[in-house]
Structures are given as C-alpha cells and as structure tokens.
C-alpha cells in the first residue's frame, strides 16, 4: 500500500530532524518534535489519499458537484455579489460604524493593522510591481516618523503639514537609495538595502544630539483640527482609515497606469522592457520614491499616534514582517496585500499565548509560501503565470544560466 511506502521516508525525516534539534532542545523535546513530524506526516498523507480516492468515487463526486452548484446559486442570488457597488457600500459602512461597538484595545489593533496596510501597499509597489527586493523598507518608515518627531518638537510644525513633508523626506531618501542601487541586480539590491536599514538604525541610536539615541523622542504633538485634538483611539482609527483609503485609491490607479505597466514589464524582464523603450532607470527610482513616500506617511502617523519614537521600532525584523505581509497576501495584488497585512497583525493578537513563536512562524511562512504558493493567498493573475514553475519543456531551455566567468 502507498501508506506503507510513505512510512519509511517519513520515519527517516523525523529521525533526521530529531537528531538535528537534539543538542538545542534536549532529548525529551527532540523526541516530541520527531514524533510530531512522523504523525503529522502520516495524517497528512492519509488525508491526501482519502480525498483522492473519494474524488474518484462517482457518488461523492456527484455530491461535491451538487454542493458547488448550490453554493454558486446561493452566491449569485445575493445582491451583494451581483453589485460591487452594493458590496462596497456594506464594507464601507461596516468599517465606519463597526468600531463604535468595540473596546479601545480592538480599535488599537485595527489602527495598527491600518498602519501596516499602508506600509505593505508601499512595499508592494517596490517588490510586487517593480520586482525590486527592498529589505530596508522600514528605514523610510523611520525617516517619516523621525521627521515628524523633529518637526513637531523642534519647530512646532503641525501634523497636517508634516504628513506630506514626512512622506517627501522619505521619498527623497528613496531616490538617494534608488540612485545608489540602480546599477545592481536583484540579489545585490537586497543586501545593500539590508545594509541601509542597519546604517539608519545605527545613526538613530548614536546621533544623540538629534535623535536622542536609544531613549527616543518624547512628547510629539498630536494631530488637531482647530480646538479638536485627536486623543481617543477611535479618532486615530478614523484618521488611519482615511489614509488607508487614500493609499488604496492611489496605488490602484498607479497599478493600472502607464507607470504601473512599465514596472510590471521591468519585473518580468528588464532587458526586454528596456528594448521596448521603457526608461528602466527612471522608473526604478520612481518605484523606490513612491514606495518610500507611503512609508513616510505611515511613519508620520505612527509618531502622531504614539507621541513617541525610538530606534527600537525600526529594525530589520519590521522589514521582514512587512515583507511577509506582501508575500503572504500575494505580490502585486492589492486586495492580497491588504489581507496579508490584516492576517499578520490580527492573528498574533488572537493567538497571544504563542506570541514568542511569531517570528518563527513568519520565517517558516516565507519559505512555505515560496515553495507551495508563490503567488500568495490572493494572487495577481499576471504573477500567477510568471511564478508558476515552467513545465518540463521550459525547464530544459535555460533559467539555469550561471555566470560563465565565475571561478569556484
């Protein structure tokens, strides 16, 4: 039986992993991990077998088809599914009225999710649309936050004036980074941006005179309209809701524009795009600048909301978290990225007791998504075509180009 054949490699795998983790976790835990892999694997293969044989049986097949048809008619009858405007109205209404019934903690979580949606949508411009792997993205978030912190505490500039200024400051740094890295290929770019976040972090920590070092900047002014000062969590919720809506609108228009199509062309084949007359240099810098702009906006909001910034909020790990939102949801897909951000922010809040495992799970998720579902949860159709591993006939035709002159 197939199940018996699966047993041997699974035993091998579980013993192998058990041995690998042994010196780190001790005998008991290693045995537990090995057993978990063995039984999990057996259950999984059994489940696959059963579902396969079930699908082959005509009676169950008929049942499945029947269910599917039923769901289809049910969905089709709903007015919401037929009228996107109606659906849009419901969602908007829920987003505006829903939080009124929530406690402050839940509203804060949603606000945080909003910040990350803006960040993830900005990173999506760089990684998802233009295909440039930027690992230092959080440094632009830091620049936005520190711009407002300094403008507010030193010059007393208001939140509303600082919002575009912070975005522009971040975009300016984006242009600088873009100009520096524009000659680099994908993987070099990743490592230079990684170095960039490290430099920004070190400067924030050590340039005491301006950034107040690790202690951060306190008493940043809160946003206000006339005599009304934003103080309650719900105020900030509506503010970020407005910013998120604006971001989605802008990014959506951008992705359908001439610029957006040019980015996709660069992502899919830079040389071909250049040959077709796309100004790749200018557009890559533009991708960096626009991505950074949104990070700057998110940073200003962050500083306004918490009235405090410190270097600890802007680490490489934050970059990885935002990247995992984009990857999880689907690179290049705006609804996907929004969903990804919501999952990554809200799930750990729900599973509080596993908080320590958060980064472990994100790391594993990045690997698993790339191996099993590179297009993300809600993939962009264009990405789906590109990311699909080429068929056998394509496989032999290249992609395996290894630099000729390299000496190993």
């Amino acid at each position: 039986m197939d199940l018996n054949l699966k047993f041997l490699p699974l035993t091998g795998l579980s013993v192998w992993i058990g041995l690998l983790v042994l010196p780190f976790v001790g005998f008991r835990q290693a045995a537990l991990i090995a057993a978990a892999i063995l039984f999990g694997g057996l259950l999984w293969s059994a489940a696959i077998r059963i579902s396969r044989s079930a699908r082959r049986s005509p009676r169950i097949r008929m049942l499945l088809d029947e269910t599917e048809r039923f769901i289809r008619t049910l969905v089709a009858r709903r007015p919401a599914a037929r009228h996107p405007v109606f659906l849009f109205g419901i969602v908007t209404g829920l987003l505006i009225i829903g939080p009124l019934g929530m406690n402050n903690y839940m509203i804060d979580v949603l606000t945080l999710a909003g910040i990350y949606i803006v960040l993830a949508l900005g990173l999506n411009i760089v990684v998802g649309m233009a295909g440039l792997l930027d690992l230092g993205y959080i440094s632009f978030y830091a620049i936005g936050a520190y711009s407002y912190a300094l403008l507010s505490t030193r010059l007393g500039i208001s939140f509303w004036a600082a919002l575009p200024l912070g975005g522009l400051a971040a975009a300016a740094f984006g242009v600088v980074l873009g100009v520096i890295t524009l000659r680099l290929r994908g993987d070099y770019l990743a490592i230079v941006t990684l170095g960039f976040i490290q430099i920004v972090h070190l400067v924030l920590n050590n340039w005491d005179r301006v950034t107040n070092g690790p202690n951060g900047i306190l008493n940043i002014g809160r946003p206000a309209i006339g005599p009304f000062v934003f103080s309650q969590p719900i105020h900030f919720y509506y503010l970020i809701l407005a910013i998120v809506s604006l971001t989605i609108l802008a990014v959506n228009r951008l992705s359908r524009s001439r610029i957006g199509r040019a980015w996709i062309a660069i992502r899919e084949d830079e040389v071909a795009a250049q040959a077709m007359g796309v100004d790749t240099t200018r557009l890559k810098i533009l991708a960096f600048a626009l991505g950074a702009f949104w990070a700057g906006i998110a940073g200003v909001f962050f500083a306004g909301k918490f009235a405090f910034v410190s270097p600890e909020s802007f680490t490489f790990f934050e970059s990885v978290i935002v990247l995992s939102m984009v990857v999880l949801g689907g690179m290049g897909s705006i609804p996907g990225v929004v969903l990804g951000a919501l999952i990554v922010v809200i799930l750990p809040e729900v599973l509080r007791e596993f908080a320590g495992y958060r980064m472990l799970v994100f790391g594993a998720a990045l690997v698993l998504m790339m191996v099993f579902r590179p297009q993300g949860l809600i993939g962009n159709p264009r990405w789906r075509i590109e990311l699909r591993p080429p068929g056998e006939d394509l496989k032999t035709q290249g992609r395996s180009s290894v630099n000729g002159g390299a000496d190993v």
Partner: protein, 300 residues
C-alpha cells in the same frame, strides 16, 4: 598598538573569510545569496559552546584538552553540515527553476526561522562559557598576542589551503567548477548536479562551523543574533573579493577584518559596523565584480 590591532584584524578577517567562502561557493553555483548562511555559523558557534560545556561536565576537557577541542570541531562540523544539507533540500532545491525573487525570499525566511528557533530553544540571553583555555598572551615582536588569535589565523589558513587544493586538484572539485560554469552542460557530461550542490552546501557549512567554534572559544559567549551581522559582513567580504571567486573571498575577509579593526580603534567604535556596509556599497558601485572577479556580462 598598531601591530596589536593588525593581529586583531587578521583574526577577525580569518573568521569573515571562512564564512565568506560559503557565500561565494553557493553564489558561484546557484547565483543565490544564501541569507541563512550566517545562521549556520551561529549554529556552529552554539554547538561549540554546548559541546565544550558537555565535555567539561564529563571531565574530558580538563584531562585531554587537544582531543576535546578536536571533538568539538568535528561535532560542530557534522551538525552544521546536516543543517546546511537540510536547508538546501527544504528551502532552495524546490525553487531552483522558479523566478529570481522566490529563492531570495525563501532564504530570508529560513534565516529568520533558524534565528528564532535557536532563540526559543536556548533563550535570548548570552550563552556564556567559562574560559578553559588559558590565554596567557605571547609576546610576538614586542606585542602581546593571544595564542587563540594565532590559532584562529593558522587554522583558517589551513582550511582555506585545503579548500583551494580540493577545488583545483580533485575530481569533485573539477565537477564543482564545471557546475559553476554551466549547470546544464555539466549535467550532460555526467556530473550529478544535485550531489555537487549538496556537497557545496556541506563544505560551506563545515567552514562556517569552524569559524563559529573558533569565535565561541575566543569570546566564550554566543548569542542567537550573531549570525545576522557576521553574515552581512562575510557577504561584504565575498563581494569585495569578487563573488564566486574563492581566493577573492579570502582576500576580502582579511581586508574587511583589518579595516574594521583599525577603523574601530582610530575612527569610531560606535560606528564600527557601518564600515562594512559602506565598503559594500562603494565596491558595488565602483567595481561590482570585486577585486579579483572577472567582469561578467549578464546573460539574457
């Protein structure tokens, strides 16, 4: 003072060079930055401390110091090789034909995963080991030098020479060079590509393990995040020397170690970590093929 700093720089550079070799070999064959390589080095360092502690508890270190050190090196190397093999099999092999971005993201995921795995298993505080090795400084040319530093420099030169001979003289080394030049052609003439790639990961991991163990013995403490910074710096060393080029990685490692050691003592110790990144950026802009690398035009 200056001579002392040079010795420090060389010892540091030797460690960078050993890690850089892993980056450069994998890049030479797969054109992939193995972001998780720094984590293999960190795991090697942890195993060094764990095994030393174990051998001290059973009393081996006190009576047979050389033997127990040898066993620590072997044990750590075997384990790191295991981790390297698993890493390649799980995170990279399924993505060998995917687009460029996928293996990179997978590599970052693996790096984060391994870091947090070690943190969860061993705690986030420094893992300390009491110095067993008396490091009475030797006076060399009028400068006090720690024997451990000499040991680090000599061991890494030995390992690097061994690697160089392996790649240049053995049949397997030839297969590796062939694979680096053209995977498909090498496969056609009978090289088992999967095996060569696996062996590349094993060799890189063993060298990283050696670096990790030496650092663990030298400082007497490890932490789960040491692989991150060391990884970026070693990668810088590989790029500086010319990525894909083995002597280049060694040269780059030593140069970087010297720059960092001298920069920290004469310019600013707070910004010591910035030097590596600045070098990386400057090299990539002015001479992307590195000091010893050949100019490579991108294939279409």
């Amino acid at each position: 003072m200056l001579l002392q700093q040079i010795v420090n720089g060389l010892a540091l550079g030797a460690v960078y060079a050993l890690i850089a070799l892993g980056y450069t070999m994998v890049y030479g064959i797969l054109e992939l930055i193995n972001f998780a390589h720094g984590e293999i080095y960190m795991i090697g360092a942890y195993l060094g401390i764990l095994l030393l502690t174990f051998f001290t508890t059973v009393g081996l270190t006190q009576n047979h110091l050389a033997l127990s050190l040898f066993l620590v090196f072997i044990g750590s190397a075997v384990y790191c090789a295991g981790y390297g093999l698993t890493l390649e099999r799980v995170a990279y092999r399924p993505l060998r034909h995917a687009n460029r971005l996928s293996p990179l993201i997978s590599a970052i995921g693996m790096s984060i995963f391994l870091q947090n795995y070690v943190m969860l298993a061993q705690g986030s505080t420094d893992k300390v080991f009491p110095h067993v090795l008396t490091s009475e400084p030797i006076i060399l040319l009028g400068v006090p030098v720690s024997p451990l530093q000499i040991f680090i420099i000599l061991t890494s030169i030995l390992l690097m020479t061994g690697l160089h001979l392996f790649v240049k003289k053995t049949r397997l080394g030839k297969a590796m060079r062939a694979t680096a030049q053209d995977k498909r052609m090498a496969g056609l003439v009978g090289v088992d590509i999967n095996r060569v790639i696996a062996i590349t990961f094993v060799i890189g991991s063993v060298l990283a393990a050696a670096a990790g163990v030496m650092v663990a013995i030298y400082y007497g403490l490890v932490n789960f995040f040491i692989g991150y910074v060391a990884g970026i710096k070693a990668f810088t060393a590989a790029v500086l020397g010319g990525i894909g080029n083995i002597p280049g990685a060694m040269l780059g490692g030593f140069i970087l170690g010297l720059v960092e050691s001298l920069g920290a003592s004469y310019i600013s110790s707070e910004y010591k970590d910035v030097f590596a990144f600045l070098i990386l950026i400057v090299v990539l802009i002015l001479r992307p093929s590195g000091l010893l690398g050949e100019k490579i035009s991108e294939k279409v």
